[in-house]
């Protein structure tokens, strides 16, 4: 009896294993993204503050010419758990941008320097304008980009590092670039990073991988601004639950010992 049971179980388990193996073989055609030892990984993970600030610099000097981040406000840059720029720095950053406001008392729209409470100013007035200006490919909003891509931070970093000369024999259309981590290896964004394209104010050497790391850290924060609070609170909650569970377990044992000793 038991034998048949084990047998049928083995058959089915091996069938499932086969499926997994098949799937594995299929996905191996795709190149695995690079893995980075991010500081925000793991249950006590935190953002590297300096990296976030540098990442914002990369975003604003490089990415922001095409990519919007319309879920973020300038005030977020000064909030706890983020880049934590000082209040004055945030005001100064915001003041660099012009936003449309109004209507005023005469009924006219006017522009003014942005305030910390304003949303990040978008490079294009609307999606259509962004699409038209970029060869028919809309540069996606980057606010939650890290969460919107399979592979998350590693994937974003990999794409930034994945520009290569196309393999021989591969014809690419105008405005299409080869990137080995992109789906289908084709991307409509030209390589955005090159050595020294930004000069970091903290003196860090602006290598491509450094910039890619910094901007990915920044984008991870922007997608999950409460990550640090979440990790901290999570640890407390789980420690509390474990202690409570042990106490309840001991009380339960004591209570049930009356019943268990009855027979």
């Amino acid at each position: 009896m038991c034998n048949t049971q084990t047998k049928s179980r083995t058959i089915f388990l091996s069938l499932i294993f086969l499926l997994f193996a098949f799937n594995q073989a299929q996905s191996e055609e795709k190149i695995k993204p690079l893995e980075v030892d991010w500081t925000f990984k793991g249950i006590t993970g935190k953002f590297d503050r300096a990296s976030l600030q540098r990442g914002y610099q990369v975003y604003t000097e490089v990415c922001a010419s095409c990519h919007s981040m319309n879920l973020l406000s300038y005030r977020n840059l000064g909030e706890k758990g983020g880049p934590e720029f000082s209040v004055d720095q945030v005001k100064a950053i915001a003041a660099n941008f012009e936003v449309e406001d109004g209507p005023n008392d005469e009924g006219d729209m006017f522009t003014r320097p942005a305030r910390p409470s304003d949303k990040f100013v978008s490079p294009y007035p609307n999606v259509q304008a962004a699409t038209a200006a970029n060869g028919g490919a809309y540069p996606p909003d980057m606010s939650v980009l890290v969460k919107a891509r399979k592979g998350g931070s590693d994937y974003i970093y990999s794409v930034l590092m994945g520009y290569e000369e196309p393999p021989q024999g591969l014809e690419l259309d105008d405005g299409v670039y080869y990137n080995k981590y992109m789906d289908g290896q084709k991307i409509k964004m030209s390589n955005p990073l090159s050595e020294g394209i930004v000069s970091y104010s903290d003196g860090t050497n602006a290598t491509v991988s450094q910039m890619a790391k910094d901007v990915t850290t920044f984008l991870t924060w922007s997608a999950e601004p409460h990550l640090e609070t979440r990790h901290k609170l999570g640890l407390k909650v789980i420690i509390f639950l474990i202690i409570f569970t042990i106490l309840v377990y001991l009380s339960m044992r004591r209570l049930w010992s009356r019943i268990d000793s009855e027979k």
Binding site: R9, I43, M252
Partner: protein, 418 residues
């Protein structure tokens, strides 16, 4: 039981004479419960917790959410970013749905293993299946609300199923959509219904528990209570503390998801705002609906797929009459026990292929597993329950079995098996 319960305080008596609420609560705590229940029986309490947790977090989310096609996606991000602990409430709610289904699947399979659906508990089982059906509808509509790519295209795929119905299919689909495609009217009605259904579930849960309190709990050996004084313990404190312990263990796992892997059970495409012009590469439902998705796709004909999909759920309602074996617990049904485990693996396999593209080997496995699923309920169980030679059941929960095996060992061996 204390039918003639008298409250001690004067006010209590005055109130109870007019509305016997206190008698009712006494009735609940007086509930005698088999003393041999194992941890698989704690999922009823866990599910009650899940439902209440979903309702409370859902009500709070509803205060900040905007049910409009242009604003829904951003309102979710507003909750995640600007609402105090909004991220926590939303992650509890979204992961809570998964935990709810995890618990309900264990609860259902526990019932299958120990024959809890059999006489005299058929109504409990049917009510349970209706709850499960409503849960699926609620979860599906809830997944649409963030108005991401998977929300939109999931809604499109599922609502399109109804168009397979001959003659009236198209009208029904348009009626569900409130237009000629999934759009703002679809979102607003899904929000309204997503808010309503949990309270229907709550009502059914009350009936489910009420129906349970008539015959009392089934138990691992699956026999009726012979001597209440020896075979049962009072629900409180013995079962309440055991349920609490199991619930806490469950909450530790739940918290692990909420705080350290909150998006692992979701699909990354749902962080992209819905776009009717861009179809995602693979449209997949949430993990807990995957077995049914696999059944749907295993049939080459659309209408056939839809029929099989609904049949796979409704067949469960007929289960108490498909399985006519008098012995409830699989412990004493050696052959049924094997088929039970094959069914578990079958459903897991269906879930796995449901997540994969419907082609090649996956499609073949989906078809075989679908056929087996129906064969289990329509062929194997009716025949097996007539011809199976069951093992002797114990005289009572506390008495040794006829063969002389002491009860405690049996329960232990059963635990190992599960």
């Amino acid at each position: 039981m204390s039918e003639n319960y008298v409250p001690s305080s004067k006010f209590g008596k005055w109130f109870n004479d007019r509305l016997p609420l206190l008698t009712l609560s006494k009735h609940l705590t007086d509930y005698p419960t088999p003393k041999n229940l194992n941890y698989w029986w704690t999922f009823g309490g866990i599910l009650t917790f899940c439902l209440i947790s979903q309702i409370i977090t859902g009500i709070v989310l509803g205060m900040h959410y905007v049910a409009h096609a242009d604003m829904a996606f951003n309102s979710i991000e507003h909750i995640m970013r600007d609402v105090n602990y909004g991220w926590l409430i939303r992650y509890i709610h979204s992961n809570g749905a998964s935990m709810f289904f995890l618990a309900v699947y264990i609860h259902i399979f526990r019932s299958l293993f120990y024959g809890s659906y059999k006489s005299p508990r058929e109504i409990i089982w049917i009510l349970g299946m209706l709850i499960y059906l409503l849960m699926m509808a609620t979860a599906f509509m809830g997944y649409v609300l963030p108005w991401g790519q998977m929300s939109f295209w999931g809604a499109t795929v599922i609502t399109n199923l109804f168009s397979a119905i001959p003659l009236v299919g198209e009208s029904i689909t348009n009626w569900l959509w409130g237009g000629f495609a999934v759009d703002n009217p679809t979102l607003t009605r899904f929000f309204s219904l997503h808010y309503l259904f949990p309270f229907l579930i709550l009502g059914l849960v009350v009936l489910h528990i009420w129906a349970l309190h008539v015959p009392g709990n089934n138990n691992p050996v699956g026999i009726d209570i012979k001597k209440p004084s020896k075979d049962t313990v009072p629900f409180h404190p013995y079962i309440t503390i055991k349920d609490l312990f199991a619930l806490l263990v469950f909450m530790i796992i739940f918290s692990g998801f909420i705080f350290f892997a909150p998006n692992i059970l979701g699909h990354s495409d749902n962080y992209i705002e819905a776009n009717p012009l861009v179809t995602p590469k693979h449209i997949v439902p949430e993990w807990y609906l995957l077995p049914f998705y696999a059944i749907l796709r295993s049939v080459p004909d659309k209408l056939g797929g839809v029929i099989l999909l609904f049949a796979s759920i409704f067949i469960l309602i007929a289960l108490p009459w498909l399985d006519s074996s008098k012995v409830r617990s699989a412990i004493f049904r050696p052959v049924y026990k094997i088929f039970f485990w094959i069914l578990v693996i079958d459903v897991l396999a269906l879930g796995y292929v449901g997540a994969m593209p419907a082609e090649g080997l996956y499609l073949l496995v989906a078809r075989v597993a679908t056929i087996y699923y129906f064969a289990h309920f329509l062929i194997i169980l009716p025949i097996l329950s007539r011809i199976e030679k069951t093992e002797p059941v114990p005289l009572s929960i506390t008495e040794p079995v006829l063969g002389g095996m002491p009860k405690t060992e049996m329960i232990r061996s059963d635990k190992k098996n599960v």
